[in-house]
């Protein structure tokens, strides 16, 4: 999904990379979506529902959410609300969209330094998303600073520093092994002193099942709160778009420990559809902030529910 033309890796500032164009590409590629499924069908029968189930499940929407959606299709079909496959198409899109939050946009306008704490499991794409976010905020005319809160993974600090250089913005860091909460707090002090608009704090990847590491996150949040009860203004969970149903557990556990305010989904430039986000958004009522569509600095898009749902069916 959100497939697009791969270009020279060194030149990630690609041309023609609007989501629309990418979607156009994926449309050419995947001819087996719902539109073709419904083409020529006049009646809604169990065969069609089976095919729909397949489509939803292979998009990682999950059997539970799929059942929920198909159940309402069945009901409406039997009550003759859904007369044909055209109305079915619209109904489905609507049912899925309803699982999402209406307003997903992250608003960073405050009269103080807006702090974004980025959390998630290992390798989800946190650091890369931070690099792209910094660019996007700078494009909006905001000043940005980064905090290297992953003090665990080998060369994680160096990785964030490269993103700092690419963005030409400061990165507050200590050595690997130092206390993450103190790195992030130092960065916050520094950002405030310099009147920075947005501070984005990276954290080490951790599985939501690792109690002690989850407590460390909780501590980071507590330390920030002690100095400003509004901070962090956004606690963003980054989810790998290729992940399956386990992402629901991830979201629940992170939410329990640090109280999430938004999620972002990465790696949607492949064939993964990120469908698990429906169940997450539905259960936790969390907005989806951004989607990652590549490894380049510009490969980040604000989430758009309509486009996202449309892309499932193309």
């Amino acid at each position: 999904m959100f497939n697009f033309f791969k270009k020279d890796k060194s030149d990630k500032i690609e041309k023609g990379s609007t989501l629309k164009q990418r979607l156009a590409k994926s449309r050419q590629k995947l001819g087996s979506g719902l539109s073709s499924l419904l083409l020529g069908k006049k009646v809604i029968d169990e065969d069609l529902l089976d095919e729909l189930e397949m489509l939803l499940i292979t998009a990682d929407i999950g059997i539970n959410t799929t059942d929920k959606v198909l159940e309402s299709v069945r009901q409406n079909a039997s009550r003759k609300v859904l007369k044909d496959s055209d109305s079915l198409y619209e109904f489905l899109k609507d049912a899925l969209t309803k699982l999402l939050i209406e307003d997903n946009q992250l608003n960073t306008d405050t009269n103080e330094t807006f702090v974004i704490l980025v959390v998630g499991i290992n390798g989800a794409g946190k650091t890369t998303t931070i690099g792209k976010l910094a660019k996007s905020f700078q494009n909006q005319g905001k000043s940005v600073m980064l905090a290297a809160g992953d003090t665990f993974r080998a060369a994680a600090v160096e990785q964030l520093k490269v993103w700092g250089e690419r963005n030409e913005i400061p990165v507050v860091a200590q050595t690997t092994g130092s206390d993450a909460a103190s790195v992030i707090y130092d960065a916050y002090e520094s950002a405030k002193a310099k009147n920075i608009d947005i501070l984005i704090a990276d954290t080490a990847g951790r599985l939501h099942t690792q109690g002690n590491l989850m407590q460390e996150l909780e501590k980071i949040k507590r330390v920030l709160k002690k100095h400003n009860e509004n901070a962090p203004h956004e606690t963003m969970l980054v989810i790998d778009g290729g992940s399956g149903q386990n992402a629901i557990n991830q979201a629940k556990e992170f939410n329990k420990t640090v109280g999430l305010s938004g999620i972002s989904i990465t790696k949607l430039d492949g064939t993964a559809k990120g469908g698990v986000v429906f169940a997450i958004s539905d259960e936790l009522k969390l907005p989806v902030r951004y989607i990652g569509v590549g490894e380049g600095i510009n490969d980040l898009k604000p989430f758009n529910a309509k486009e996202f749902v449309d892309a499932l069916f193309e």
């Binding site: 993974r153 099942t209 386990n246 790696k267 492949g270």
Partner: protein, 474 residues
């Protein structure tokens, strides 16, 4: 979160009682339950279809009534088939070639390739005494080369330097030449993560493969991957002569359906499991473990077997009766503790329990919190029988005596008493009626065609509650 498959299957087989063979309609319903379990586990839909066709065929002739209930027999069939598919024989690395034996990894971004390379290096160095060289051909991800360098230093193996201005093909060619000259036994080649739809990058890795001609080309896949694992695995298997798979991040609570998808689609064996971030967190693959996880039911069969082998039935039954009557005391708790110890301790048991996969480590830690069986038993041993049944007596000087007698401190005695009280409270909460119901349920799990319940015992009684968030009382 996930219902226990065993229980669900018992429902499908309710109508079967008395018959000795599974019928088409029984099977259909049971198949539907298994399908659901596999979908919840993220097995790719197309793989599920093929798999279930196979199961259906075999289930038709399945005999029941030879000690196993229909649902047990069916689950056993499913387990056997899954293990069969997931298993495969050739599980270790094959490094028998003219040195240096080259091992290359491939996979998506963030799957765990670099970490796995470091783990493999550690494994080969420590266990097989190999002289290992590592090299990174990842010139794209920021600080990817530094990451491998740092890890190599940690492991204490040789690192072949590269930099982002070099061509990956040249990097690996130089590294291989260097390994030859320096008489390294093994060269491990780390590569950049890539999407299977990125044709340029897929071309690149094909070129790398041809350049170094690895004896092992391992596909690294994140155990949390969803349905897309099928597409990905297919594309990588088409592009490269894969020899095996490394399944990473299995220390989480993912059901790991990707394991089945990837195994089925590539036809290559899963050789290692990544079980943590540390360099020694790499384990040889155990198909049984993944299978029971896939089904979300823990290692039920072996747990049942083990418990019935080791549990002292009379004592266990007595405890349960006392529990139901609210008379459970510290000597019963001691019996439980000792039995648990016999079965390999709390941790071994927990690993096998259904639903445990869904329980976060934090909760597990809490449940295990301070479970020091020997110490607890020593404390109880230092009490008089009267004290064991009347814990209110244990105060001041008695407490000190018990602490001294068991070589612990008064705070340890307090801790034990607290845990015991918590346990009692929980039993009260469950109440007699609920307890009976649970026992009936347990009996159902044992043999849903009315076979005798076997051995009710505490550790097992708790099973149905586990997924519901009930904590172990101690």
């Amino acid at each position: 979160m996930f219902d226990n498959l065993t229980e669900r299957l018992s429902n499908s087989f309710k109508t079967l009682q008395g018959k000795s063979k599974l019928s088409q309609s029984n099977i259909k319903e049971a198949i539907r339950e298994v399908r659901r379990a596999l979908l919840e586990a993220d097995v790719a839909l197309e793989v599920i279809k093929t798999f279930l066709d196979r199961v259906q065929e075999k289930a038709l002739g399945l005999k029941v009534g030879e000690g196993l209930s229909p649902s047990q027999a069916f689950i056993k069939l499913v387990e056997t088939e899954l293990t069969d598919i997931i298993g495969g024989e050739n599980k270790t690395l094959d490094l028998k070639t003219q040195p240096p034996a080259v091992v290359m990894v491939a996979g998506l971004q963030g799957a765990g390739k670099t970490t796995s390379i470091a783990k493999l290096a550690h494994y080969l160095k420590e266990r097989e005494n190999k002289k290992v060289l590592v090299v990174s051909a990842d010139v794209y991800r920021p600080a990817a080369i530094e990451q491998l360098e740092v890890l190599a230093k940690q492991v204490g193996i040789d690192f072949f330097p590269s930099n982002i201005d070099q061509k990956p093909e040249k990097i690996v060619a130089d590294a291989k030449r260097h390994a030859q000259k320096q008489f390294h036994d093994v060269l491990l080649v780390d590569t950049a993560g890539r999407l299977h739809v990125d044709s340029e990058m897929m071309d690149e890795i094909q070129a790398l493969q041809k350049q170094v001609n690895p004896i092992e080309t391992l596909f690294v896949v994140d155990s949390m991957t969803g349905q897309d694992a099928a597409h990905t695995a297919k594309a990588f298997a088409d592009a490269l002569p894969l020899t095996g798979v490394i399944l990473t991040k299995t220390d989480g609570d993912a059901r790991g359906g990707a394991a089945l998808s990837v195994r089925h689609i590539t036809g290559k064996p899963i050789k290692f499991l990544g079980v943590g971030e540390k360099i020694d967190a790499l384990e040889p693959f155990h198909p049984e473990r993944i299978v029971s996880r896939l089904l979300g039911m823990g290692d039920v069969l072996s747990l049942v077997e083990e418990i019935s082998r080791k549990v002292d039935h009379k004592k266990a039954e007595k405890s349960v009766q006392k529990m139901a009557k609210g008379q459970f005391d510290l000597s019963d708790m001691r019996d439980q503790l000792l039995q648990m110890e016999q079965m390999g301790g709390m941790e071994a048991l927990m690993d096998k329990m259904p639903g445990m996969g869904q329980i976060p480590q934090s909760v597990k830690n809490q449940m295990m919190g301070g479970v020091d069986t020997k110490r607890m038993v020593a404390i109880i041993n230092s009490m008089t029988p009267k004290e064991r049944s009347h814990i209110k007596l244990i105060k001041g000087s008695r407490k000190n005596r018990i602490a001294k007698g068991s070589g612990t401190g008064p705070q340890d005695v307090n801790k034990l008493l607290k845990q015991f009280e918590k346990m009692q409270k929980q039993m009260k909460k469950m109440g007699g009626g609920k307890m009976q119901k649970m026992m009936a349920k347990m009996a159902g799990m044992q043999g849903d065609n009315g076979a005798p319940a076997g051995m009710p015992d505490l550790s097992k009684m708790k099973l149905p509650g586990m997924g519901g968030g009930n904590k172990f009382p101690f």
